[in-house]
């Protein structure tokens, strides 16, 4: 194995990989940076039917490979420390790593922001053949929605059935959300994670505030 790797290092890389993060002196600004959620959280209500939190600056990586290729699956598992979920619409969580099934040949890997390059590199180191690894951390953010009325807000926003009998904890779907879209994962009985696109995040934040109004919205920083 080590011979093969050495050989690979001598030829030009077939894909360009770059650590895209600056050093810690430069603070990243999440898609909802402008909303100043810390102040909203401090001044806003402390109780309500719905709680909102932006899990800002997480690392997101898209992984494409052939799920019927056992070697690739093994390599990905080695790099991630957890096997890729191959059952449609499922996810796995292990420690700081969570992996969402997106499509038969696509997964979304979420890790702490500072770990993204490490995981990206590990995937490149382990995988061979036809695959794609793309760091998309700047393009997405994660909204965490929870509370007694979280399902009521989701029912106003998305067309998928979120009843626990068909949407158990761990299920993940890509679907429409209001007039935009989201990758929705049930992370608890009454807790959901929405992975949303950066450019739509302000619209979705406005939407969630409006849809939650009748239940009371608590913002956590």
């Amino acid at each position: 194995m080590s011979d093969v790797k050495q050989e690979a290092a001598t030829v030009a890389p077939t894909v360009a990989v770059m650590d895209q993060l600056p050093d810690a002196s430069i603070q990243g600004q999440s898609p909802l940076f402008h909303a100043d959620l810390a102040t909203v959280a401090k001044n806003g209500p402390k109780t309500g039917g719905v709680t909102f939190k932006e899990e800002a600056l997480m690392g997101q990586i898209t992984l494409r490979l052939n799920a019927e290729n056992a070697e690739q699956l093994k390599a990905a598992e080695k790099a991630l420390g957890v096997a890729l979920p191959t059952q449609p619409l499922t996810s796995v969580v292990k420690g700081e790593v969570s992996v969402r099934w997106m499509s038969p040949d696509e997964w979304l890997i979420v890790v702490p922001g500072l770990k993204a390059f490490e995981v990206e590199s590990a995937l490149h180191a382990e995988l061979s053949g036809h695959y794609q690894v793309v760091n998309i951390s700047g393009g997405w953010t994660i909204f965490k929605l929870s509370g007694a009325n979280v399902v009521d807000v989701l029912k106003k926003s998305t067309i998928v059935d979120v009843h626990p009998s068909v949407f158990p904890v761990g299920k993940v779907v890509s679907t429409t959300f209001a007039k935009s879209s989201a990758i929705i994962r049930r992370s608890g009985e009454s807790e959901f994670e929405l992975v949303v696109r950066r450019s739509f995040s302000d619209y979705l934040w406005l939407w969630i505030q409006d849809a939650s109004r009748e239940f009371g919205l608590v913002v956590e920083a």
Binding site: V15, A16, Q20, H130, I136, K155, K156, D161, R198
Partner: protein, 1007 residues
């Protein structure tokens, strides 16, 4: 007593809670539990509007959704106006303000009434078609008068202050209607563990039981209903929706429900509450338990206030404690309606007679009426009504056994109320919505739901099962069947006991004969809302309209907001009689969504105001806002359009931005460009197939511009794609085309060339992109680069890209240019975009770094003759039309998308419209985009048009206008004249030239 028709006791109203309301400016009092209609009747209000065409006074006819006349305008303020509300469905609340919709200028004295009095001759069916169609120029005038006279109500002129929303529901079973059949179906399914939604348009569940004196399960019907509702509400898998009309039944068991949440409480929703909710429901199965509407009979002057549907009279008495008159004449074709006369009699008022059209009725109810001493006139009919603003009497005559003619002398009776019943029409509307054709049933004397592909069950009166015992039995059966279809186990549900009433056979009579032929008899109304009479339908048939669908359109029967709920079947019966055929031979009746009118508020939900359409922002949006940008919509993106300084006009700002860029340095937020990460060993091959030019040999570190064509050879998108590594490319697309292009690539990969090893992932949002452009841009970049990266002319050439750190942030910098100037496109992870952007300004101040927006970008590129896909292309131009043959590689081994299409006869002919530069002879004239080109401005109109202007601007850098446009054979007409006749009459003379107005050799960008 103010409520002169109110009974001292009885009904489901609360006499301890009086409510004050306003109708047509006058104050009245009703009770909690009333509808607006029952309260008006309690107060003896006879006229609630004027008719559509003849402007005749009209009163309340029915008690539910089928009411054709009592259509009200509600709202205490301008902002809360709601038109088209049926008074029979509006619950009374304190402070309710209502008014007649029909009857401009006043219901009691109407100028249109004059027209009505002159009579039907003046306004026969098809009147609008025949009279108002010509001359067309007068239509606007007619329309204003007719629309107003037609009384369609009016929408508010101010913003609705209330909140409406939409909810997506999923269910195992939706039960429509909470009468006895629906209730027991829902109960059965819920006990079996199904996820159930039960909806009913009324404020209380119970349906027919609410206005009946029957006992169920040995107790008052209401008590049984309350018990069932309690059990349903306690079940967490059941959603109970009162005041909720299932308005539409769509494909694949999708239903829409309009729920009115606070309309019964106040004029405006109490603070924080949602006024109305629109449920969008996907259900595995559906039980339609929608009941039936009683049909009135068609007889002379049957629209005079006081003429009502029999069951409605019973409802007002039993449910609301209101007897809407003093002297009743009941005309019926069946036993069932005898209840109305009995209820009237038992309420202590006078029943003049029951006029039964049958020769020898014998049922239990007939006996019960006779026992009470009520006169029953058999084999007779009410053929005419006296009175104008209220019934004063009726003409009764014996009729033949088949109901076709009057057989004896006419007798007059005094009466102020005429209740009539021609039997019951099952409410099959929802079943019709999905395209199912209803079927006539001779026993029911009505249409039943037809064959359907929906997962639909039916129970109760919709099946023609009009007795409570039968409805309960069918409801239980439907509930059990749903459970079995859903794969759930059957459960025990006991059908409660009811009292059986023996009824004798009903008579099939719809249109009551008169001593005169229909055309000369007093008006016999079929459709109250649209003023369609039996004579009108006969005339339509005689004029050659034989299909009932044509008759309906010609006469407007069933085209009101009530959709002909009361009139359609009577109308078909009239047509069938004239055409000498049966009702099923005449046709069927199809109902379409919505079942009753729905507010725009409920349809819009929260998709209004700031949430009407998503606004997409780049990572630098906050800076743009703080620096006074004016924005332009590009797709859903808000892009800076230009950045005016205080006091600057738009043109002044553009001039400044353009000059600053050409003279020093400008900066553009280009983050909205679509970006696609492409990886795989066949990535190059794939690019070669989807772009018109060659990609096989593009070296790592290089960028290339490409045109994307459709199979027909026409340009649909363009952009620069860069080779990041041997098997790794970054494609850019237009801002508006990002999603379309990604989809296009996936489509070809998944459906045509799955064997190619390539993956595509969108990275549009991941990268913040800023372009610095102008002679000083290298100096600024060099200042911000960390470490030792050479960006000099020779080591960082035009169309190169390099990774480097800019302002401390890892970046990919592309030396590409859309302005013709020395330019660098800096891409950083979007969370650091604003940081780098601000650092550029910190260091760029000394160069007067100037932000510019899309408009300056457009001007600068037009000076260079660069196209904008979507502005200079419209799906009908191929690369050669654009003079961009250099971007086509005909020698590629694979026949790329668009190659074959471009070689079609039409694509290779001479004299195609080709893109050229257009220089106006007067340099100060800026041609409007879209201006049409002609070669001969003296040609007679219509002049032969030879092209148009696609881009046109004032160029501050050149001190003149520049334009790009299409001209027939333009590429071979350099230096020739072309003319643009404008809408204001001017003709602008111009010269055809190269589209490259500035720096044709490209020296400015190669520095």
């Amino acid at each position: 007593m103010s409520q002169k028709n109110r009974l001292q006791s009885g009904g489901r109203i609360d006499r301890s809670k009086p409510l004050t309301f306003t109708y047509n400016g006058k104050q009245f009092e009703g009770f909690a539990g009333d509808t607006l209609a029952s309260a008006l009747l309690a107060n003896g209000v006879d006229i609630i509007g004027r008719s559509f065409k003849y402007s005749r006074p009209r009163g309340i006819v029915a008690a539910g959704a089928e009411e054709p006349n009592a259509v009200m305008q509600l709202g205490a303020t301008e902002a809360t106006q709601v038109p088209n509300v049926r008074a029979t469905q509006q619950e009374l609340f304190s402070g309710l303000v209502s008014g007649s919709t029909n009857g401009w200028p006043s219901v009691d004295n109407d100028i249109m009434g004059l027209l009505g009095k002159v009579g039907g001759k003046m306004m026969p069916p098809g009147f609008y078609y025949k009279t108002f169609m010509y001359p067309a120029t007068m239509w606007e005038t007619y329309e204003k008068v007719i629309r107003k006279a037609a009384g369609l109500g009016r929408s508010p002129n101010e913003y609705d202050p209330d909140t409406y929303d939409k909810v997506n529901q999923h269910a195992d079973l939706v039960v429509v209607g909470a009468g006895p059949a629906g209730l027991i179906a829902a109960l059965t399914a819920a006990r079996g563990g199904a996820r159930v939604i039960i909806a009913d348009e009324q404020n209380e569940f119970g349906g027919s039981l609410l206005s009946s004196k029957e006992s169920v399960d040995g107790k008052a019907a209401g008590a049984w209903v309350a018990g069932v509702v309690k059990e349903l509400e306690a079940n967490e898998n059941v959603i109970v929706l009162p005041r909720s009309t299932v308005n539409g039944y769509h494909d694949h068991n999708f239903l829409t429900i309009h729920q009115r949440m606070t309309d019964h409480i106040a004029d405006r929703a109490p603070n924080g509450q949602v006024r109305q909710r629109y449920h969008r429901v996907r259900s595995k199965w559906v039980v339609l338990a929608t009941g039936a509407h009683e049909r009135p009979l068609v007889f002379g002057n049957n629209d005079v206030p006081g003429c009502m549907v029999a069951n409605a009279v019973s409802t007002y008495i039993n449910r609301y404690g209101v007897v809407p008159g003093n002297e009743l004449v009941l005309m019926t074709t069946n036993d069932n309606a005898y209840r109305t006369a009995i209820d009237w009699h038992d309420a202590g008022r006078k029943v003049q007679a029951i006029v039964d059209t049958r020769k020898n009725p014998t049922g239990a109810l007939v006996e019960a009426a006779r026992e009470r001493g009520i006169t029953v006139m058999t084999g007779s009919a009410v053929i005419d009504v006296q009175g104008s603003k209220r019934v004063t009497g009726v003409s009764v005559a014996p009729i033949s056994e088949d109901g076709s003619k009057v057989t004896g002398s006419v007798k007059k009776l005094s009466a102020d109320t005429v209740a009539s019943s021609g039997g019951w029409s099952p409410v099959i509307h929802l079943s019709c919505h999905t395209g199912s054709k209803p079927v006539w049933n001779e026993d029911v004397l009505g249409f039943l739901p037809g064959k359907t592909v929906q997962k639909q069950l039916t129970a109760g009166a919709i099946n023609g099962t009009f007795n409570t015992a039968g409805a309960l039995e069918e409801g239980k059966k439907a509930g059990l069947e749903a459970l079995s279809k859903l794969g759930l186990s059957a459960v025990e549900v006991e059908v409660p006991a009811t009292t059986e009433v023996k009824e004798s056979k009903a008579m099939a009579l719809f249109h009551v004969p008169h001593t005169k032929p229909t055309s000369q008899a007093p008006k016999q109304f079929v459709d109250y809302q649209n003023d369609v009479t039996a004579a009108g339908i006969e005339l339509a048939c005689r004029e050659g309209f034989e299909s009932i669908e044509h008759v309906k359109r010609y006469t407007a029967m069933g085209f009101g907001t009530d959709q002909g709920k009361l009139g359609n079947i009577n109308g078909m019966a009239v047509a069938a009689k004239v055409l000498n055929q049966t009702i099923p031979q005449t046709g069927t009746t199809i109902f379409r969504p919505n079942y009753t009118p729905i507010t725009f508020g409920a349809i819009a939900g929260r998709d209004c105001g700031a949430l009407f359409d998503p606004e997409r922002y780049s990572a630098m949006h906050k800076w743009h806002l703080e620096n006074g940008a004016k924005f332009e919509d590009v797709g859903q993106w808000k892009r800076p359009w230009y950045f005016p300084k205080a006091g600057e006009s738009m043109q002044e700002a553009l001039n400044r931005e353009c000059l600053a860029t050409r003279e020093s340095i400008g900066i553009l937020d280009a983050s909205t460009l679509g970006k696609i990460d492409i990886q795989g060993k066949d990535a190059r091959e794939f690019l070669g197939r989807v772009y018109s030019n060659a990609w096989a040999k593009l070296p790592v570190g290089k960028c290339r511009y490409g045109l994307m064509l459709k199979e027909d050879g026409m340009v649909f998108d363009d952009g620069v794609t860069s080779c990041l590594a041997e098997n790794h490319f970054l494609m850019t697309t237009t801002s508006g085309g990002a999603a379309t292009v990604l989809n296009w690539l996936e489509f070809y990969h998944q459906t045509e060339w799955p064997e190619l090893e390539v993956y595509f992932t969108s990275v549009t949002d991941h990268w913040a992109t800023m372009t610095i452009s102008g002679p000083n841009s290298r100096k600024l970049l060099e200042e911000l680069i960390d470490g030792d990266v050479d960006v000099s002319k020779d080591s960082f050439k035009f169309m190169d890209w390099k990774p480097m750190s800019v302002a401390g942030v890892p970046a990919r910098v592309f030396r590409i240019s859309f302005t013709g100037e020395l330019s660098f496109e800096i891409n950083v992870q979007a969370n650091y975009g604003l940081h780098v952007w601000e650092k550029l300004f910190e260091h760029g101040a000394k160069y007067d770094l100037t932000p510019y927006g899309t408009e300056t970008m457009h001007i600068l590129r037009a000076e260079k003759g660069f196209i904008i896909a979507g502005q200079d292309t419209d799906g009908s131009v191929h690369p050669y039309d654009l003079g961009m043959g250099w971007a086509v590689s005909m020698n590629k081994p694979f026949s790329f998308i668009g190659k074959r299409g471009m070689q079609r006869e039409d694509c290779v002919r001479a004299e195609r419209k080709q893109m050229v530069g257009i220089k106006t002879i007067d340099p100060n004239v800026v041609l409007p985009e879209g201006a049409q080109a002609v070669f001969d401005p003296t040609a007679s109109i219509p002049m032969p048009m030879v092209g148009h202007i696609s881009s046109s601007y004032w160029s501050a850098c050149l001190g003149r206008s520049v334009a790009l446009g299409f001209v027939k054979g333009g590429l071979d007409k350099m230096g020739e004249k072309v003319y643009y006749p404008l809408v204001d009459g001017r003709i602008v003379e111009a010269e055809i030239c190269s589209p490259i107005f500035l720096d044709p050799k490209g020296e400015r960008q190669n520095v």
